[in-house]
Symmetry: C3
Subunit: 317 residues, 3 copies
């Protein structure tokens, strides 16, 4: 694996999931693989689970890790080609990235979308430039439009939870939120479930919250949340802002919050969320505090997902 930016970087999802679950059984089984290698984790935006789980994963492989918060610990970066840098940005990615490529063996980057400029965001301008200039494997810690470490965790969690000999029904449902959020987690989950190909996959959301077809193609769209939830084995709850008229909140109808009542028509569905979750806005307390919620298991699997990916980036096929 050369970089890890999207599911397209993965040859075999099942093999990667199996590798992650093997690390879950024996965290230190490849403790020398990363000896004398160093992972840089560059955060252009804040993080908790991603930062902690990725650092732990790399250390489990014997790597050294340095976390670096750009803007806070260092410099505001410039990404525009031929910029005359007389404004607030103090360093161009063309100058910063090659040096990070000299200091580290693998470079993890988190960079949120602007939600202002869809063309830039959906071209993945920032992380693409890091890949272009760093000269070492780049690991997405969530980029403008995708969050592949989260999605791999999600597939791992579904696979270890669902034991029946049939295709699970997986429902991705939009939920209300107080802020305009990226489409990353939803895009990425759709992309991975479709690529995995082992589920009946339904997406439900209010009008105006359509996602980019390049990620959702293969899923069934059901505008009625109640109908979508019927018979679900897994319900993935997530807010996102609008894609077509970009980065807005049009409808924040609290009726879309997932409640225990709504779960009744499901197949005793497991409820998933990437966290952090706004309780009683996206998801009710009663669900999060019930046995149906697998959000903690999901988040703790982040370590094994990251460990599997980093081991591949280190050349361990």
């Amino acid at each position: 694996m050369k970089n890890f930016i999207s599911v397209a970087d993965v040859d075999n999802i099942d093999a990667l999931v199996a590798k992650a679950l093997a690390f879950k059984k024996e965290a230190l089984k490849s403790q020398t693989l990363g000896a004398n290698k160093r992972l840089g984790l560059l955060f252009l935006n804040p993080s908790m689970r991603t930062r902690l789980s990725t650092q732990i994963a790399a250390e489990n492989l014997g790597m050294k890790v340095i976390v670096f918060n750009v803007g806070q610990d260092g410099w505001a970066l410039e990404f525009e080609d031929e910029a005359i840098m007389s404004g607030n940005t103090v360093e161009h990615v063309k100058d910063a990235a090659p040096i990070l490529g000299k200091y580290f063996d693998v470079l993890g980057i988190r960079t949120f979308p602007s939600l202002q400029n869809k063309v830039d965001d959906y071209s993945e301008l920032y992380i693409q430039q890091f890949m272009k200039y760093a000269g070492i494997p780049v690991l997405s810690l969530e980029s403008a439009t995708l969050h592949p470490l989260q999605s791999l965790t999600d597939i791992i969690t579904i696979q270890e939870t669902f034991r029946e000999q049939r295709r699970p029904r997986i429902v991705l449902t939009w939920a209300p939120h107080v802020k305009a959020l990226p489409q990353c987690v939803a895009n990425s989950f759709a992309q991975w479930v479709n690529a995995w190909g082992k589920a009946d996959f339904v997406i439900t959301h209010p009008e105006d919250y359509e996602l980019d077809e390049k990620f959702t193609k293969g899923a069934t769209y059901e505008p009625n949340q109640d109908k979508a939830l019927h018979g679900a084995d897994f319900v993935y709850v997530k807010n996102w802002s609008t894609y077509t008229d970009y980065g807005r909140i049009y409808n924040n109808d609290p009726a879309w919050m997932l409640t225990a009542k709504k779960l009744e028509s499901t197949n005793n569905a497991r409820v998933m969320h990437c966290l952090p979750v706004r309780r009683n806005v996206e998801l009710s307390d009663e669900i999060l505090d019930s046995a149906n919620s697998i959000v903690t298991q999901q988040a703790s699997n982040r370590v094994w997902a990251a460990q599997a990916v980093i081991s591949e980036l280190l050349g361990n096929k």
Copy 2:
């Protein structure tokens, strides 16, 4: 030791002090105890000595350490049950703590009081919720009302300094300050000296600065600072805001600043302070720069105090 939140978590203070002093002699004597264990240090408020000394202590035991500044590196946390999270907090402790419990083996937490809501502060709402939901040993790095790592350090420092075959006279004196500060260090010092039981313990402060009796019971209160200092072997200098009418500054009389003149009536007392200290506000330069001051020794003992406590939390009886 299951958690370390107050002196009540300690079976035997003398044994813990002895353990700390043994680490001071040989820092790396238990270098494998924490192998493949990880300590998370979660700071909801800033820290220097506590952060550094605790990280060093854990590394001396062979642990890996990750420091995490909540709010700065990550998210503002919600602590209220049943909150409808449509405001500024982005994650509930009920969701964050269990995941930290999966990522770490021991969880250190610093959380200051609001100084607005005495009931919440004195119920130790924040750290209690972390203990309830994390599922792993919790180590206080200073909580709303107590600072037990500091107090253990204080007892260690007194014990290694005082060589006479009698009970030392220890005086805790209030000092002026420019800001309203927590009562933690004073509460905790009182609680530990009382539990230790090997000193004559006097507390002096202006009217209105009474501390909670549950911590001070056993100490003698002397309203006159000069009288209190008479014959003192140790003088612990510390500001705190009012407890009864909560979190205020009523009297900031500079006459309460400890000076060399005031030390004259003591038994050539050693002067202690938890640091950081406001020079020439709480304590005069002449004292801090003299041989009477043991504040550096005290702060450097923070490493050994933390190391003794963490070794117990790791199950090393």
Copy 3:
């Protein structure tokens, strides 16, 4: 080497350069030198290259490293003697430094100049006080007037690049910038090239941008940039604010920006810059993107410079 604050701390520049180049060939050759030693990196100002390269260097020597951002992670420090600390500073360097000296074996410090008070800045008040009170070797990560790790890197880079049997012509040229910057990098580069003594050294800058003679003495001053550049083997580009009438921008003439056109009269000069660089303000894209630029090589040599210095501070002669 007792401290590393300026070139005056170095016995033999050539030997130090050779040591650095030996580490560049074999990074882990002294992997046990720093075993059970700890480096503290204290940033009173932000950093990217310095922070990362110094941490990596110390880890290559087997040291443990803790990075600490003062002000952000901790406290605002007081440096004035006899200050009555009733303002914003919460801890005096006299109290903080000795404790850092107990926690660490080597202490790295970054502290920028105020650019307000030339006497304080040029007395190196801050770093001198750390040296006075810490009681352990102090490593400058850039101080008010000098940046010796950068300058050592610069000498290393020149030495490994220039293969001819003659003295290279090195030109330090002022460049425009949008902010008032310290004189550190220019001062320090001048000080080191002069001490090294193996080059013909020319400095060019607009009127009013004279540097302190104690650093530049030995160099030739040429007010005309075109004349200065003629026949140059190395061109070091850097902005600095005024020294005499301190900390100002008098002339920000874009004609001083280094361009490919200006390079034509040089001896196909290698172009150097300490980074971060404002593209198309200090230096044009066409130069930075050309083979003449050695800025990435220069920045990556920061690791080996730091590693050579730290190994000396650890007593490895």
